[in-house]
């Protein structure tokens, strides 16, 4: 790991001021991706701004129509929160499938979204539920947040503070995971808000998460597993690596979507 200067600001204002002042400054949330990337020298920031002292970013608020997760809330907290389990169980289930239990004790939603790993789980929920990402500067629609491989709408120094998920009538996440890394080879989040408002978010398959509009249209007409079972997804532009070919990933999108609809109806 390259040397860096470590900072632990006590409030949001100081954190942003520090990150903006440094040329190669990075925010440090749980460190479950960043520290590993730094060990491999894939990332070599000059300054790390640790967000661990920012209590405002650790709030988990559940209201009747929305769940707001502070950027520094750990995956394990979302997975085990009794109010999230009651109001938006699909989100708790998703959080409980990220990595392994040690990773879930440290990893955060803000860190995961800012990193935008193509195989991360949370992006599927952000698109599947139409979440809003709040930063120190503005609110960003989930649909406009993911820009490409590890690329987001965040500007340099901009910091995610919270993510708000609208509560659907029913929803589910299905993940076909890499048995070694637990990352999603393909993960599909399906949500039905009623009144023909259906969303399908896909992660793991492409350079970043995306919505599957053909499935959304079909589910709008009839929210049933058979509505998506016959849809053949094009492999064009999907990821190709040692774990799965684009054709296999395309096939998995349909299978996972079908299973997610089945699970949402249970």
């Amino acid at each position: 790991m390259r040397a860096f200067e470590y900072h632990r600001p006590a409030n949001l204002k100081d954190a942003v001021a520090l990150a903006e002042k440094k040329d190669e400054g990075r925010y440090l949330a749980g460190g479950q991706s960043l520290v590993q990337a730094m060990k491999l020298r894939l990332s070599a920031p000059t300054d790390l701004v640790d967000l661990n002292a920012l209590q405002d970013l650790k709030a988990l608020k559940v209201e009747p129509g929305a769940v707001t997760v502070g950027a520094m809330v750990r995956h394990a907290e979302v997975a085990s929160s009794s109010s999230v389990l009651k109001t938006l169980p699909a989100l708790a289930a998703l959080a409980g499938q990220i990595g392994d239990r040690q990773v879930r004790h440290l990893g955060t939603i803000g860190g995961s979204l800012a990193n935008n790993d193509p195989a991360a789980d949370y992006p599927a929920a952000v698109l599947g539920l139409g979440a809003t990402i709040t930063t120190n500067k503005r609110k960003i629609e989930g649909d406009k947040f993911f820009k490409g491989l590890y690329e987001t709408a965040l500007q340099p120094g901009e910091l995610i503070t919270a993510v708000t998920f609208p509560v659907p009538k029913r929803a589910a996440y299905m993940k076909f995971k890499n048995p070694a890394s637990r990352f999603a080879i393909v993960g599909v989040f399906v949500a039905d808000f009623g009144g023909g408002n259906v969303r399908v978010g896909v992660t793991g398959a492409g350079p970043c998460a995306f919505r599957q509009s053909e499935m959304e249209q079909a589910l709008k007409k009839n929210f049933a597993p058979d509505s998506v079972a016959g849809i053949k997804v094009s492999p064009d532009g999907l990821n190709n690596d040692l774990h799965a070919s684009p054709e296999y990933r395309a096939h998995l999108i349909t299978i996972m979507a079908k299973r997610a609809v089945e699970a949402a109806l249970k």
């Binding site: 590993q36 491999l40 394990a76 392994d100 239990r101 040690q102 990773v103 004790h105 440290l106």
Partner: protein
Amino acid sequence: MSVKVSMKVNGQPVSAELESRTLLVTFIREHLRLTGTHVGCDTAQCGACTVLMNGKAIKSCSIVAMQAEGADILTIEGVAKPDGTLHPMQAAFKENHGLQCGFCTPGMVMNALDFAKSHPNPTDQEVREALEGNLCRCTGYHNIVKSIVAGARAMAAAK
């Protein structure tokens, strides 16, 4: 770029001047000379470096020591009683032949200790899921699962 870090390790307050890039596991092994916490893969896959931070299992190779500033850390050295009496979870590993070479064992035991707090009578399946972040290259896991089920029950019974 040195920084001052202070935390509690196995109940003892410790502090040191470290390079800011020092990993928690490096601090534990090389500065405190507590070498029971192992480094297997160094890429967050194997879980041999698992310790408890404020009661929760984490991989100490995946954070810098400064992230544990002010925290309460428990390593395998702090698990048995000072007189050497094994903790019920350690005893269960011994009874059930839950180890062969022993390299992964400290991480297995630390993760199991945390897991057992919320699962006093776990199923084999729950234990296998809880072990997703711990690799063993000898046992095939069967006896580790048996050990953790027995250890969790023993911990619950001892309460």
